[in-house]
């Protein structure tokens, strides 16, 4: 009736309802962004604000903080816990938790030391065995969860102790195993950086990929009679990506350069982001985290989704443990203990992945871990004791969770779930 006539004059399929505001201009986009933030859809805003504050404070206290080589070191350190945090994003998406990631990472680094150094296995085989055992641990959690309804909170808390015990048992009385200096794995964890040309090229490719995919989607939408972003907007977006990335790469190249290990971490984030947002699996993960019963009624195999989340989380934790071993060139009793667990979880939450399930992004692991490591690095530069470092990191985690809870409450009252 009314709708029909509107449609005659407005050909776009998704713009026929006059009651809805659409942000078409740049001013409109900014307005929509402000509205979104007001209603509690914060996205990565808290992280960026937090990073700016952290950088300003630490830079004023110690000018070494923003020096290229300190940032390169920071990125090396980010990559190990960051990979673990990526697994946490997965498990938080379905609304569960894994508290044992630290122990799993320590266990896998001990396994690497025992198999590779003590038993003389090829390093590749040792890595594969560690990853497979990590996956098996995740499969065990999901079995306990799916079959017995054991809350993941409890099963992974039990796992935290059990795998720590296994790690200590493997390392035996010596307590630590040194990985050989100069081996490819240790080099990867400590020194290997991208050649300048490669890093510049990768940053440019990222921008080009953003533009090409955006352009192709816009073209398809236009053909189909849906609203589409304009060419200018796409170009602006791609240009912004290229300029920002090239600047970061240029700055890092003033020091040692972009670590390959950080490259691996970013690549994992990109793959995970694609999987979570562009595949049926990712859609199912989000659905299970949002409303398990609705997902089940829609024909999604909910148990298999939980299985995939637990397995991915533990496997990535094991991978993080291997990277940490490479970074430290040793597998020790301390690996994976202390603040590793909480840093991984805190990074995901600080980056904007909700503890309540169904909301999150792979990039939250990347952003969150940079925040956490910046704090750690800044405090180390100030020569503060670890007691203060723990207290400050704890406070940051508490603030992040408060922001998450408040944003969630605001989203609910503004109807944004």
């Amino acid at each position: 009736m009314n709708q029909e006539t509107q449609q005659g004059s407005a050909p776009l399929l998704d713009r026929s309802d006059v009651r809805v505001k659409h942000a078409d201009t740049i001013g409109g986009t900014i307005g929509a962004f402000i509205d979104r933030v007001r209603s509690g859809d914060l996205g990565s805003l808290p992280v960026i604000v937090g990073l700016i504050i952290i950088c300003t404070v630490f830079q004023s206290l110690n000018p070494v903080f923003l020096a290229p080589n300190n940032l390169v070191n920071l990125l090396f350190d980010c990559s190990t816990v960051g990979v673990i945090s990526l697994g946490i994003v997965c498990i938080l998406m379905v609304g569960e938790i894994d508290l044992s990631v630290g122990s799993v990472s320590g266990f896998s680094s001990a396994l690497l030391g025992v198999l590779w150094v003590n038993s003389g296995w090829p390093v590749a085989v040792a890595i594969i065995v560690a990853l497979v055992l990590g996956a098996a641990i995740g499969a065990l959690y999901s079995f306990l969860f799916n079959r017995f309804g054991m809350p993941s909170f409890v099963s992974t808390l039990a796992g935290l102790l059990a795998w720590l015990g296994l790690q200590l048992y493997l390392l035996g009385s010596s307590g630590s195993i040194n990985l050989p200096y100069g081996s490819p794995l240790v080099n990867f964890g400590q020194t290997l950086v991208m050649p300048d040309a490669v890093s510049y090229a990768l940053a440019a490719i990222a921008g080009i990929v953003v533009f090409v995919t955006g352009y192709r989607t816009a073209a398809r939408r236009r053909v189909a009679g849906l609203s589409a972003s304009s060419l200018g907007r796409l170009l602006l977006q791609a240009a912004a990506v290229i300029v920002i990335l090239e600047f970061i790469v240029y700055y890092l190249n003033q020091g040692r350069g972009v670590p390959w290990m950080f490259g691996l971490f970013v690549a994992l984030c990109v793959i995970m982001n694609y999987a979570l947002t562009r595949t049926k699996w990712g859609r199912s993960m989000t659905a299970v985290g949002g409303n398990r019963e609705a997902a089940r009624r829609a024909g999604i195999n909910v148990r298999r989704i939980y299985l995939s989340a637990f397995v991915l989380c533990s496997t990535l934790a094991a991978a993080g443990g291997l990277l940490a071993a490479a970074r430290l060139a040793s597998a020790s009793q301390q690996a994976g203990t202390g603040d590793v667990n909480l840093n991984a979880i805190a990074a995901a939450v600080i980056g904007g992945t909700s503890l309540f399930g169904g909301r999150g992004s792979a990039y939250s692991a990347l952003l969150g871990i940079i925040v956490i490591q910046s704090i750690a690095s800044g405090l180390t530069l100030l020569d503060l004791s670890s007691s203060l470092r723990y207290m400050i990191t704890g406070a940051v985690l508490a603030i992040a969770v408060i922001v998450d809870s408040l944003a969630r409450r605001s989203r609910l009252s503004h109807g944004r779930a």
Binding site: L13, D14, R283, T286, G290, A294, G299, R416
Partner: protein, 271 residues
Amino acid sequence: MPESDRQDSAPGERVLSLRGVSKHFGAVSALTDVDLDVHAGEVVALVGDNGAGKSTLVKVLAGVHQPSSGTITFAGKEVVLADPATALGLGIATVFQDLALCENLDVVANIFLGRELNPPRLDEVSMEIRAWTLLNELSARIPSVREPVASLSGGQRQTVAIARSLLTEPKLILLDEPTAALGVAQTAEVLDLIERVRARDLGVIMISHNMEDVRAVADRIVVLRLGRNNGEFGPDASNQELVAAITGADENSVSRRATRRRSQQAPEARP
């Protein structure tokens, strides 16, 4: 306008026909010899008191329960609804009262949940076009299909749930309490929507407790009482007649008087 629609539409071919369907759960007979016919382009309301067997009947049709005896004929062929997937495959879609949507996903994602196009690389454009087509066919008033469902009203959510069930091109659609927990305007919206589903020549079975809604939209009202057919009424039946049939408080047939005597305590407990 709905009034004129109803008089114009002659019943189409018979979509669904139940004959002598019974369902026992151990010693309890939830359904006894139930007969039910639904034609294309017809809204059949299923009413009855709590425990009358409405939900059991819907579950039998959705393939969740299998009848103990009796036959189900769908689109001219006798069928066995072994599981929900079979029912859906034949063309029987069910819209449950609640728990049907994921609030954190947008409208398109909800409509296609579990049936996404091109799983390894989701075809968002095709899905969005199909979603708009479905919603426009229902003249649905959804402002944007890229907003999370949490931002929609109860009536709009029911619309999304119904659009979702139409995705599989069913011949029969079962609505379980579509207007429960909705406000006045939203209820009217959903009733309009049911009219439009009927206009697409689908058979509709609607369960409701609300006699007003039932009489507003149904072509026939089938009353179940204690698991048995207890009368069939047109949309012009009075409230009193319907309530009498539902509660069994005012019966005149001799054969049913015996039944009433046996279950006298139950109806008298009711005000």
